[in-house]
Amino acid sequence: MTVLEVTGLAKRYGDVLALTDLTVNVAEGACLVLLGRNGAGKTTALRCMAGVLTPTAGSVRVDGIDAAAEPAAVRERVGLMPELPGLYERMSARTYLDYFGSIYDLPAQIRTRRIESLLELFELSDAADRWLGSYSKGMRQKVALIRATLHRPRLILADEPTSALDPDSARRAWVYLKDLQKDGCALVICTHSMEEAENLSGEIGIMSAGRALAVGDLSELRRKSGLQTRRELRELPTLQDIYLAIVGNHRDQHERELAESRSA
């Protein structure tokens, strides 16, 4: 069953076209990783998918619900983890998570049980009553991940979810996300970490200048990139190689088009 259906999605801010013609589907238990440079439109895509921003064109459906028509219903089914954790500095982790659990109407008992088990999982139990302002970057990111997944959303949208985590914590976060996937949750992850992309992904979307240049699994992308083997090591190209080849080809083509338009 498809959880997320995005068709021809576009978003314009004034005269800036931040996103254009994005079409992707994410099934139950599947994961889509969006790769791209800064300003490629990944965050805008996530905000539109979360029912936070209204698309300029195209449509977003979560569990068949149109995000433009019923944004609040979509937000109930989505857990958004923005790039910056956005935590309240003068609140303890436990109180903070309880607050967001209340917003999502989780019953008190379930809320407490989930919060305690997730704090335990991410090794935050001992610090749970400290103010979030005293937390390290990595600890904050863990709290943000717990917050985004506390209500067991159907769709998790995460912007660089492990960028501040140490390798051990990052691995723990991936395992946790994969467990959620097994329970039927769909994932859309934006990242700059190729390791994360390879670890989590079923499908990968490569974005540049608001466009999805290529969407597919690793072997499809390998074919699209034109790279058969790594030149030096004589082995299959990594995702990093594929990404650079696709974005590089796009840039070359863009520059050729610019040069042609100038000469014309």
């Binding site: 004034g14 935590l87 309240y88 500095e89």
Partner: protein, 445 residues
């Protein structure tokens, strides 16, 4: 444009308010400072008033000073509301916590109501706490307790706090950092300081009914601003406008050009804006009636209105040459020119005054003589002047309406610029009409 208040889940709004309250009171130094001001200022003021009473300052002076002290006591905590509101909206936006909040199923109205309620609760608790301390310390045993004036003061304080909070929300939609918000806060502080000076003057006048009228006006102002804040507070406005702000000068020039292009001609424009025109037209008879009643009852002293009337009569009577015509023309053009910027600041009231004020003077003159005599003073020039004033007034009301209308998708500047451009384009016809009216007044009036 429909005016309805969206429904909200009160429990969700209370959740937001509780969190904001907890956050505000979690900083001990801030709390101590606020409580100290709430207690120290009333006690200091009370000592001053009682000292004056003890050392024989005179009943009238002590009574007036006791009220000014009350104003002073509520004014300082009320001003905290702006800081608290900016912190609650812009501060959260800057720290990206607002982005997290808007990605939850909470409706905009629930976030807005919760945050506004939290700021109001803190500010009003401080205001009224201070006022109670002050009243206990000042009026006990003084033999004087101006209950009506104090209630009016308490009511207008709620509205002032509400207006400042709503203003802070409007700022938060246009400022991404606290630094920018603090600079933009001048747009709230300066008008509010004028409002407070008027309030202080009314307290010194010692007329409770004026203060009640002022409180009524503050209720309208607060309601308009709170509504504007609610209309403008949207996920789209908070997140989407962070990009797309490149080349501000070029964008401003383009917006200005757009405001003047593809606009309807004068007659079609007047038809589109017929309701504001009718409101402006109603200003004349309403003003005449008000002026007539004011003249008959002596509600406004003759020493205030008569100098205005006599200067107008002198301007048209003593020197029937070109100089008088130029003076009349300049006076009217100046009124039309001032009505435009004032329309933005007064929500279009200046447009209504363009017809109300002459009507008031006409009615007042009629109360002192007769309607026939008063009307002969505006004939035949009024046949041109009055329609011109109605058109200018109607278009100024449209500018005012645009200035208090916000939409989640933004576009406030474009709407105000378009209404302003319509007014300026209409002046191409209205200014020559005023010249004709001035000539008629001098030659035939």
């Amino acid at each position: 444009m429909s005016v309805s208040w969206p429904s909200l889940d009160r429990r969700k709004a209370v959740l937001v308010a509780q969190r904001d309250l907890r956050d505000a009171v979690s900083e001990l130094r801030l709390i101590l400072a606020m409580v100290a001001l709430t207690v120290a200022i009333p006690i200091g003021s009370a000592i001053g008033v009682r000292g004056l009473a003890y050392f024989g300052g005179g009943t009238a002076v002590v009574d007036r000073l006791a009220l000014v002290g009350a104003f002073f006591v509520v004014f300082i905590p009320a001003s905290f509301s702006l800081v608290l509101a900016l912190e609650s909206f812009v501060g959260e936006r800057e720290r990206t916590t607002l982005e997290v909040l808007v990605s939850t199923p909470l409706k905009e109205v629930e976030i807005y109501a919760g945050k506004v309620a939290a700021v109001l609760a803190i500010s009003l608790a401080l205001c009224y706490g201070g006022l109670i301390v002050y009243c206990l310390a000042t009026f006990t045993g003084l033999g004087y307790f101006p209950l009506s004036t104090l209630i009016a003061l308490a009511l207008s304080t709620i509205c002032q706090v509400g207006a400042m909070v709503a203003g802070a929300v409007i700022i938060s939609l246009n400022a991404r950092t606290m630094r920018a918000a603090n600079v933009m806060a001048s747009f709230i502080i300066l008008p509010m300081s004028v409002v407070l000076q008027v309030e202080a003057a009314l307290i010194l006048l010692g007329r409770a009914e004026f203060l009640w009228g002022f409180a009524g006006l503050m209720i309208v102002l607060a309601a308009v601003l709170l509504r504007m804040g609610l209309d403008g507070f949207s996920r789209e406005a908070l997140l989407a406008r962070e990009v797309g702000l490149r080349q501000p000068v070029k964008r401003a020039a383009a917006a200005l050009r757009t405001a003047f292009t593809n606009r309807p001609g004068l007659f079609r424009l007047l038809w589109h804006g017929r309701i504001p025109l009718l409101i402006a037209a109603a200003g004349l008879p309403i003003g005449a009636e008000a002026g007539y009643i004011a003249g008959l009852t002596g509600a406004i002293p003759g020493s205030v209105v008569k100098p205005v009337l006599s200067s107008l009569i002198q301007a048209s009577g003593e020197d029937p040459g070109a100089v008088a015509a130029i003076a009349i023309f300049s006076h009217n053009v100046l009124a039309f020119a001032l009505a435009l910027p004032l329309a933005v600041l007064t929500a279009g009231v200046s447009g209504f005054l363009l017809t109300f004020a002459p009507g008031f003077l006409l009615g007042y003159a009629a109360s002192q003589s007769s309607w026939a005599l008063a009307l002969s003073g505006v004939f035949p020039n009024g046949l041109v002047e009055i329609p011109a004033a109605v058109i200018a007034g109607g278009l100024a009301i449209r500018v005012g309406a645009a200035s208090i209308h916000m939409e989640p998708s933004g576009g406030w500047t474009a709407r105000v610029l378009t209404a302003t451009a319509d007014y300026l384009r209409a002046l191409r016809w209205l200014v020559p009409a005023l010249a004709v009216a001035a000539a008629l007044e001098v030659r035939l009036g």
